[in-house]
């Protein structure tokens, strides 16, 4: 691994991020990344966060048109309430703060505690939970569906709504609408190596793949002999469409897990588009690249987000962040 010691991985990355992005305020000690012009008068602020190891999520999505602040935790570990309260206080203009929370037990507990503490400080807080991963059965017997690729759609579209000056309640309902209309499915061709462990988180022989993985190096639901991009696209897109059944066009995110080359991701996208066409699903816009990663895991996830005209307009609105940038 290209690191110094495991203990300083997150702090070292934040120092590097600060140097590369003067448009952001990167508080290395307190682990908060804030857009430099915050708080923006009269506008709702968006705060997200989660374990590190998913870059560019979330810190790379801080900037005009998307997040106001992000809180990076240790690798694959939710940040602590202190970070979230500090971020909320830094970005709140008085119009309120939306916490965007991926559905993992740790993230939910820490953001809940932070929301209480922030409200004690007079900050109006609303929350939205992202849970788009169809590989997990949402039942009493699991922690519920995981938040994965849809996080990008929620942060971008809700960010555009906030940028337009829409009130907190409306920004929250748009964020919920995006989540409810998004589904994801991911596969891994290799496990990932966390700095703390220094070896792969699970043993995946070459010639096999894991179907239904999350973004934390945890194994998936099922292991199979290696499949072609065509077969993986069939399996993944059908899994998503069986759950979503879109009647409107969809945004498509073909997302690399960190170690899969763009050459392969584009080839995979061609197969994804083929399945969508076969199923009669209209595509509004497609994004291919590494956006919600899992350290050095090889593999890819597909996220579909059904959009009406309003959501598509907000998706196309200008955004200017290290990880996502267009239109201005």
């Amino acid at each position: 691994m290209l690191i110094n010691v495991p203990e300083t991985v997150v702090a070292d990355a934040l120092r590097g991020m600060a140097a590369a992005h003067p448009e952001l305020i990167v508080d290395v000690e307190n682990r908060v990344i804030v857009r430099r012009d915050a708080p923006v008068a009269g506008k709702v602020a968006l705060v997200s966060g989660g374990g590190s190891g998913h870059e560019p999520l979330h810190g790379g999505f801080v900037g005009p048109g998307m997040l106001s602040a992000a809180c990076p935790g240790e690798v694959f570990t939710s940040p602590v309430p202190d970070q979230m309260v500090r971020a909320a206080a830094a970005v709140d203009s008085g119009a309120g703060v939306l916490f965007i929370v991926k559905n993992y037990t740790g993230d939910v507990l820490n953001f809940d505690m932070a929301a209480e503490l922030a409200e004690d400080e007079g900050i109006q807080v609303a929350k939205v939970l992202v849970n788009d991963d169809v590989a997990v059965t949402d039942s009493l017997y699991t922690a519920g569906r995981r938040g994965t690729g849809a996080t990008l759609f929620v942060e971008k579209i809700a960010g555009a709504a906030a940028d337009e000056g829409q009130p907190l309640e409306r920004v929250q309902s748009i964020a919920r609408q995006v989540n409810e209309n998004s589904r994801s499915f991911g596969v891994a061709l290799s496990a990932c190596t966390t700095p703390a462990k220094g070896s792969p988180t699970f043993d995946l022989p070459s010639g096999e793949l894991e179907l239904g993985i999350g973004i934390h190096g945890e194994p998936g639901r099922e292991r199979r002999p290696m499949m072609t991009a065509r077969e993986i696209a069939d399996f993944s897109v059908h899994a998503v469409l069986d759950d979503l059944e879109p009647h409107n066009p969809v945004l498509v995110l073909v997302n690399g897990m960190g170690a899969t080359p763009l050459l392969e991701l584009y080839g995979y996208n061609a197969e994804v588009q083929r399945v969508l066409a076969e199923r009669g699903v209209a595509m509004a816009h497609t994004l291919v690249g590494n956006f919600v990663t899992s350290l050095d895991m090889a593999g890819a996830s597909v996220t579909l987000c059904q959009v009406d005209e309003e959501l598509l307009r907000l998706w196309n609105a200008p955004v200017c962040t290290p990880g996502l940038r267009w239109g201005r």
């Binding site: 939710s78 309260v85 740790g106 699991t142 945890e218 639901r221």
Partner: protein, 226 residues
């Protein structure tokens, strides 16, 4: 942003010179005992960090050891710095420190366990073993309410509930019960936390949270033996 209110309130000094003494046949536990408990827990987590992380690899995300280590090292440091002078203050400060430094699910859950137990002990300078057992039961109840887990879900609750039940007998009995509870998570299918994503594939692995909970209870025996 400084939240002085959250961390303040631990007066210096006033450390009792008598650690354990007998009143009506029941040994009394003072702030020093509770500090020794936390220190022993920190040392135990240090020793076992690699094993906790290894247990967390097949059914989690391979960081439970390092997260607990970071938290309990911070607890040891803050207890030395602020020297809280009642059992309740020691546990509340330790709990707040875990919430502020661990992250993940373990931070809020372990933090809540100790904070709630500390609150239950009030501001008494010394408490009985029975009061400690009642306080820990309140802490475990709070953990179950926060995380939504019940016994059999393959979580820390599987070590803590039998431990609290056995605390009325002795610390040794509680420690043995916690260890037994942790080992007994192996054949279970996880229904809470990250391991639950694996469904049936979580079967056959001992739960890392139950294992660290057993370490915390075993540290009571060490603290009493010193």
């Amino acid at each position: 942003m400084e939240r002085a209110g959250l961390y303040a309130g631990a007066a210096l000094g006033q450390v009792s010179e008598v650690n354990v003494r007998t009143s009506q046949g029941d040994p009394l536990l003072d702030a020093d005992f509770f500090r020794r408990w936390m220190t022993a827990a920190a040392a135990s987590v240090d020793r076992e960090a690699e094993r906790l992380t290894a247990l967390d690899s097949p059914i989690g995300d391979a960081d439970h050891g390092s997260n607990m280590q970071r938290g309990f090292r911070a607890v040891t440091a803050v207890l030395e710095r602020e020297a809280p002078d009642t059992p309740g203050a020691v546990l509340q400060l330790a709990g707040r420190q875990l919430i502020s430094t661990v992250g993940g699910a373990s931070g809020p859950l372990y933090g809540t366990l100790l904070r709630r137990a500390g609150k239950a002990l009030g501001d008494a300078a010394e408490v009985t073993e029975e009061q400690l057992a009642d306080a820990l039961r309140a802490g475990v109840d709070a953990v179950m309410a926060l995380g939504g887990a019940t016994p059999g879900d393959k979580t820390m609750v599987d070590a803590l509930v039998p431990a609290v039940d056995a605390l009325g007998t002795s610390f040794e009995a509680a420690s043995a019960a916690a260890e037994k509870g942790a080992v007994a998570t192996t054949p279970l299918q996880a229904r809470k936390g990250r391991a639950s994503y694996l469904g049936e594939r979580s079967i056959g692995h001992q739960d890392p949270g139950a294992t660290s909970s057993a370490l915390l209870i075993a540290a009571l025996v060490e603290a009493a033996g010193e």
